[in-house]
Subunit: 108 residues, 2 copies
Amino acid sequence: METTVKSYTENQIDIARIAKALGHPARVAIIEYLISVETCICGDIVNELPLAQATVSQHLKELKNAGLIQGSIEGNAICYCVNEETLEKFNNFIQHISKKVIKRNSCC
Amino acid sequence: METTVKSYTENQIDIARIAKALGHPARVAIIEYLISVETCICGDIVNELPLAQATVSQHLKELKNAGLIQGSIEGNAICYCVNEETLEKFNNFIQHISKKVIKRNSCC
DNA sequence: AATCTTTATCGTAATTTTACAATATAGTTT
DNA sequence: AAACTATATTGTAAAATTACGATAAAGATT
């Protein structure tokens, strides 16, 4: 019987969007790099990755679209930072899930 | 100057794989559903999602491949559970990143 | 044993992602 | 102003993802 066809909640869509943005090693590396430095520009990031500049720019755009990073023009370069709010939201979700799953694995 | 071409670390690849698995609303919904019940089978999950059974099975496979869930045959059905270890690992990473980013946004 | 139930797999089409070279844009330096 | 630097965008090809119908597999029920 397939009667109850639900759709997704706003939150599920939102969390998935953030997770998806983190779903590539290059973007994980970018985030890690961004938190390892005080301020930064794309040029630095390009040198940290085994990718062409255009590709890095594309990855940065995706992180930006997901709200995981934000950037502001600063002279000749662009200063990218991790967006605290989005990361916090994601952190809260994962923590919530993680807390609930602990000590419940009796069936598998 | 593009001299330092690094590759990705094992951890970055691993974290990205987990994040990618969470990067679809259906799979977020599956995880949420799995922690909301004690034990479960795919049939229940199909009714929770606006997707065909084959598609749900495919999403379950991806969660399994990423190590986020595990399943064991139980009579006619398969009991799926969230894999505590993988979720913990992911939780630790996000928490680590999240902690570091707080109170450092001075440039953007 | 025949049928039913549950889940996986296959085949396939549409869409999205990934990567790069080439080029554009815009500020900076000379 | 000419050249340089840093980043974005465009065009494009290859690969991966998403979704579903059809079918397979295998245990459960009748």
